[in-house]
Symmetry: D3
Subunit: 239 residues, 6 copies
């Protein structure tokens, strides 16, 4: 069965990266994976949370959220419900861990970067777009900090990007859109560094359990997709 | 003293209206008043809240919110704080009242339109941009409903737009940006119909109380600004 | 159509002011506008909130609330619902802004007055009675502070009172009771200083939008009502 | 040591009972035990909570609360804190159990009476004044219900009142004011029926544990105080 | 009518006390009253809450909770409901007061012991088992503190235990199981010291009010049961 | 470097499984992985949540929580904090997905099983012990349902167990205790079926990113550990 947008199984959706989309934030990007559209903003603070003071280490943290009408049918706001949902928490923590995985926090000094990833429109892969965009917003915020002397050395050890993979109609596919994601038997999100190692692997059998061969095929596909994204990130940051 | 962007006292900031900015929503618009940027989405439901059932009347309601880094320094998310703040509540209610003021709710039938106004970037006048944009998103959603036969007759009795006015350096000015808003002695938000009547007048003395002459000057200025906005709304909806 | 209590259109309901209704509070008043009955208490603290320290300025803030059976049918407590509602927030903020509008906060020194306005019984105009009473409780608390040397100079630049006006059966009327308020096409709350200037004007079209002539008539009516209230406040404070 | 107001150890403070203090409630009373002042309102609903439907039984429940400046220093509102505190919950439940203890709920039919006991001023004994007043408000609400035919037979099996007792300076005393309450080694609240039996006994050693002789002396004192209150309640209801 | 487990009216259920059930806590006990099973853990902190600093006094506080399936049908978690219920609050406060009643807090020094009483299985008497077990966990934590020199002198003035009593089928009975508790006309929880005095007496008429003779009979029964528990506590601590 | 308890790298900690630990629950188990001790209770309801009605499918869901003193230092209760934390949410969702992965929900019929996994003591691997125990509690609850005719056919397609693996001191190790978990560079939780396939793979680089070879070694180790657990589960259910 062909993919809804006729992509090859190992092909990313069109990726669009607009840096500096916001005027106030120290780093910001509007990133699109097809129709998925995430606004990532990086906010710099020249201090760290109380529990990290006098450690000499910086801190990077993230919050993920979705506008109520990002999706096909409207979702109630978490602020109105009075609490952050489990899925939101889970993704926020994942983004934070992922971006911290490409940094030497000693070189960041006792500064904090808060990353806000707000999904303006969702069509599958919002968390992977968020991680991929967050890295760019963070890179811009770090440049800003270096320009002001807050950070003296390049704290990045590598770059970070993320992609979803899944088995749909028995075929391993890269970068699932919402329709594919809903139909996938196995669904995996993979976060890779620019040099091809793994920061996070999260695979879930939505339907039948998966065997080692399927797992291996998905990991191969994801590694390739992340390598493509790393190249696009580098191009965007070079422009 | 000149205005920060050299506008005439009765001049609006550049207004930019992009209809259909979202793929899923029944109506949507990205509206900009200068650097203030608000995403308005209209979601249609073919039912009304319980308290309104069997009334023959439709319902339109609104929620306003701001992304954490819409502003110059980051604000904590209301979802994380676990409650919607007073200011947010106040503005949400104002938007709802304003857009209901241009509708005959009987002609809407027992349908609900939920308007979400999310401030992506803030530079003063977010609530007035939200009202002005919400009207357009609503108009598009109503067209969608008419196309599907959910609504039989045009429910609009007029259009609605809103603008801020204030006294800065002793001079009454239209459409204050953030810097002017912070410096204003008196601050007023005015919501007008397309035929020049008032739906809401909210004037506050931030510093010294104001007299009737000042009040009259501000009302004149606001009425002119709303007339300009009504024209821009009509053009956007005609295109 | 006559008013429910046969008042003239520009006539206040009977106003009753009982100062010192509480034994513990530094200032307190039970104020009645007809059957509307609000208990206003002023609590003094010889410090200011953290964000205001070392500014040399005092602070005055207010909280409004309603007992569950103040109204015709019982309302659930906000404490039980676990959150303060939008309307409550809105009115609390209005009261705070209004009373701050008649003060020179430098002369208050770094002291805080917290005003609690609790509606014991409601029959329309609870927010305007609350503002009018809060001023008196504040005046008594300031006298108490001056008696203890906490405040050296009179911080009042004027007095403040508030009244509702509205168009009922096509007739502009002063000080609406609940029945009139529910029937009003346009509803406005106006806060004036003792010298006849405006601190706040909040007009809302509940039904049809209103034109400039109606707005002017309502403002005239409100200014007259506030002048009457200012006289009654002065009498109460003189006794 | 004499009592702060020179009362005999077994003497109540002056009790003042004003029935019908509110215009809207089906029953209401402002009750004073000395400077303690509690407004009790009874609200009638012609239905019962879901879990009690089709049982043929009525329901009576109570909520207790305190205005922020009822006490000597201001307390934050529970609505603002976002939750009802443990002490408030405990007293609300006590009031509910106490008033249900004098009723045959079958004779109430499937109706609910909600009792709101709001402490306007506190000087010790707020919960006992609340119970004593709640009975009167309930009696008036039941009369109202009988007048409308909602209730056919007298549901009261007896009356209910409550008083505090405690050991202060080694002396058992009745109806402690705040100063005595704070100094009491043992503190007990006793709820009695009009015919001298017990509905609730809650004794707490604040300092040293108490022995059986002290417990007996306090129970005697409380029984006498409740008998006095039962007489005052009967007089108030007869007038 | 015989008791469900054929006990004599003044007989406790089998009591089982397992000290040191947890590896991390400074004191812990799994206590069983028949099928009621409560895990009590004592956590030591070498400081006191802010409001108690520089008083020279220690602090002991308690939290009670129930696992969702401790009971016959599952109860929702309070964490999921987002608030601690009234009954939970009430019992937590009771446990704290009870254990403080057997201590000289000056001898504890400025240390805090936090007692957590978690009901793993409930069959009536959970609060009395919790108090009885909390005393043992506290005793072990105090030994731990004395071993480390945090506490120099024995702070215990006596021991503390608690038991429920009630009138079932007209018969006063000790240590009610759930079935008896649900059927009891009068229900009382009594907290005693090891030397036979009272720390807390809480009696409630669930059905008909009770007279002084019944009250006396229940107090006698409870005093006997607490004496038995005090002996069992001493044995457990001696082993 | 040797492991803290001298285990071989591919050796589980002692596993202890006590079925039927609770009297009320339809299935229950106290499971221990070394010092980690989790109480799993299964509660049966003969209906499904509203969103699943008339689907013919059953539902299984889980909630994970930790007692405050399960850990080395005390953690505040989530009920007291008023919200369920991100980590708790994440693990609850993981347990639910995992146990649903071994079931044919059609064969469960429109019944719900709620699994409560409460950590009584924590020493690493609480989520994997919870999943492994939850399966057993679920199996017992399903037997109970089959005994009552609620379920007609065996709904299990396989069994499910889970284990943690990680790289410590450069060595891939199975079933990390807390000390090893804190020191691990890479940490992975793997959920397997009884027939050796994967339901969930969650690997995180805590320190340096990991490469494909490390990932493969950890997956091998985990598959072996889960096979051991599947055998222990089968033995426990057979006894």
């Amino acid at each position: 069965m062909a993919r809804p947008d006729d992509r090859a199984p190992d092909q990313l959706r069109p990726v669009r990266i607009q840096r500096g989309w916001l005027d106030h934030a120290e780093g910001s990007v509007l990133i699109e994976f097809g129709r998925t559209r995430v606004l990532c903003a990086a906010s710099v603070q020249d201090s760290v949370p109380r529990w990290r003071r006098d450690s000499g280490l910086g801190w990077v943290t993230a919050e993920y959220a979705m506008l109520p009408r990002a999706t096909n049918t409207r979702n109630d706001r978490e602020a109105v419900k009075g609490r952050v949902g489990g899925r939101t928490h889970e993704i926020s923590r994942l983004i934070g861990r992922s971006v911290r995985g490409c940094l030497d926090l000693r070189k960041l000094g006792e500064n904090t970067v808060q990353l806000d990833c707000d999904v303006l429109q969702a069509d599958g892969g919002t968390r992977t777009a968020a991680i991929t965009g967050a890295y760019i917003a963070l890179a811009d915020a770090v440049s800003w900090m270096r320009g002001r002397g807050l950070v003296k050395q390049d704290p990045f050890t590598t770059s970070v990007s993320a992609i979803s993979v899944g088995v749909v109609d028995g075929e391993p596919r890269l970068d699932l859109c919402y329709l594919e994601d809903a139909a996938a038997g196995t669904d995996m999100n993979v976060v890779c560094t620019g040099d091809g190692r793994f920061i996070e692997v999260q695979g879930t059998a939505e339907g039948a359990p998966f065997d080692r061969a399927e797992l291996d095929a998905l990991l191969d596909l994801a590694a390739g997709g992340c390598a493509d994204l790393a190249r696009l990130q580098a191009e965007a940051l070079a422009s």
